[in-house]
Amino acid sequence: MLILLLTLIPLLGALTAALIPSNSRRPIVLPIVACLQLLLVIAVTVTGPPQTGNGWIHLDAIGKLFLLEFSILFAACAFYAVNYLQYRKERNNRVLCSGFLVCLSAMTLATAAHHLGLLWLAIETTTLAMAPLVYFNRNARSIEATWKYMLICSIGIALALLGILFLAYSTLVAGLPPSLNLETLQGYAPKLPQVWLSGAFILMLVGYGTKMGLAPMHTWKPDAYGEAPGLVGAMLAGGLANCGLLGLIRIYQICMASSEVHFYKSCLIGMGLFSIALAAIFLVRQTDIKRMLAYSSVEHMGLFAVALGLGGKALYGVMLHLIGNGLAKGVLFLASGNIHRAFASKNREFARGTLKRAPWTGALFLAGFMAMTGSPPFLTFASEFAFFSAAFSQGHIITGALLALLLMLAFLGMSLTVVPVVFGDPPKNRERTKYHERALLVVPPLALLICLGILGIWLPQPLYRLVNEATALLEVAR
């Protein structure tokens, strides 16, 4: 079946990458696999009605959107990696290449998994696959970051497993034939005992929220995103965080079909607002570029949680935002990787005046910042507008107002870091690095940015249909 093909191609690529002995030739595997994958994915999403698979693997509209976003992001990262790894020749990139491809394969499987256990397995595999990649720089700080990442994410995933077990047990208590299939559970939802269902929801919120990076489980994010190379950071922010979001969306679909939805919505809104507030506070005066991006990721994951809690029109925004957030993070992280190479530092004290030192990167970083914070004409403007209109039109005035205030605070905080990095003069007393603006370092983020711009103005018809189908899936019988 097509899904299995999509899962196997990256695995074969990983095997090939692991077997190629030459360090400089190995990165070629990445763009090849990425292009193949992307073509297949576009074919799958654009053509045809949803496939009816067996209960375990089935690509529904939500899954297709996630798959599209992963594949586009991965393609950009893969092309970027070819030139980037030439600047990092001193390190062996075997683990990086294979780990990347294994991660892509697992993410693909996760989007198609309709059995909650399989979904959990796939997400756990992505956690494990990315761990050695965070340690790419091999210094004391990155080992600390890797340890925190591994421990905290593993605990989170374990809690998510307990949540799944709670859910399965709730069907036993209700006297129904046990099942972990998404559609079956959605059907069962009104009859499941509330105690177990709420317990499962909270555990999965905490568990998958750890993976997403919701506060207060976000503590691994600044360290991991900060110490990983920009390339890896792009995949973490645009890929893994979205995997966590996928897990959350699946349990959301089940819980929203049950009787007492108010509890779940308030949990989501509360946790989301807390994450955005925390991120906004820590974004101010952040001196490290990548840590700033990590907090921005926490903020956007909080935004997702609030939107899921609001429901209604905000769900349309969620679908748009998952593409917008993923691609914008890709732009920012890839550009920050360039900045790190250009200035040999990611601290805003030393990385100043990017427009003068590396003009394309500087422009990309600035445009990415604008895209991230939701300015037109980018896609994120449409999604954030949908969130606000949903909040105010559905009567959540306080939530909407808090959201506006916090997002503005975050924007100001981020700009305090971005503006000095982009504008101004490069520091005089630092020696100039060997960095040049090469094509493949600039074109992928530029392509992502153009995508964001186009999608912000015009959604192609198949994509529009897909987004609407996905939204309909989320707005379950209320």
Binding site: W120, Y169, L180, P222
Partner: protein, 214 residues
């Protein structure tokens, strides 16, 4: 027949307290291996004999009883095992917290509605107690290997809960979960060796470089 399973679960809870209170890391690793072996034998006791339960049992025994302790002991050998590090609240604090957690688990489990055939069993309290003890172990210990042992306790607690669902859960998911556990422990072991090489100690409270300045 079920009281035998209950006695074993009592033994599991006692092992929790032992792991929380011991200061010798090797003993903690051996105790968690014993806990894994006991848990491997439990499905045979709570359910009637079926082939897929036998497969699970063998798998769990191999994974938790042999593979994982072997990985951990290997990592321990490569790291310094000299100074004893006090946990954050002391060993007595650990034991007290473990005892309080066990009581809370029993109280809380009494309020959860159970399926009729599971009434009165110790599975739910034991599982909650082990999970809480695992959390305490992770939060309270400083050496990285002890934190991994705490994580294993957490996973054991989740496994105990899964015993209620042995018929319901398909074999593949359990097998996959165990495989992921082994892989996770393998990665953690590698990281611990790197930590030891980098910092010449596995005291995680020394890893403070990435703290927020503000």
């Amino acid at each position: 027949m079920n009281t035998a399973a209950d006695q074993l679960l009592v033994f599991v809870i006692l092992l929790n307290i032992l792991i929380l209170g011991t200061r010798r890391t090797k003993l903690a690793i051996r105790a968690i291996a014993t806990q894994g072996i006991v848990l491997g034998l439990l499905p045979l006791m709570t359910h009637s004999f079926q082939s897929h339960i036998l497969i699970i049992t063998i798998f769990v025994l191999l994974a938790k009883g042999v593979c994982i302790p072997w990985l951990l002991l290997g990592a321990l050998k490569k790291t310094e095992s000299g100074e004893e590090l006090q946990p954050v609240f002391g060993y007595s604090g650990n034991i007290m917290a473990g005892a309080v957690a066990t009581v809370l688990a029993f109280v809380f489990a009494a309020r959860l509605p159970l399926a009729t055939l599971h009434q009165g069993l110790l599975i739910v309290p034991a599982s909650l107690a082990t999970i809480l003890a695992g959390f305490i172990a992770i939060a309270n210990r400083r050496k990285a290997i002890n934190q991994v042992v705490g994580y294993l306790m957490l996973e054991n607690g989740i496994f105990i809960f899964g015993l209620l669902l042995t018929e319901a859960m398909p074999l593949m998911v359990e097998a996959g979960a165990l495989l992921d556990l082994i892989a996770g422990i393998f990665v953690m072991g590698l990281i611990i060796k790197q930590i030891s090489r980098e910092f010449s100690s596995i005291d995680t409270s020394r890893m403070t470089a990435l703290r927020e300045v503000e």
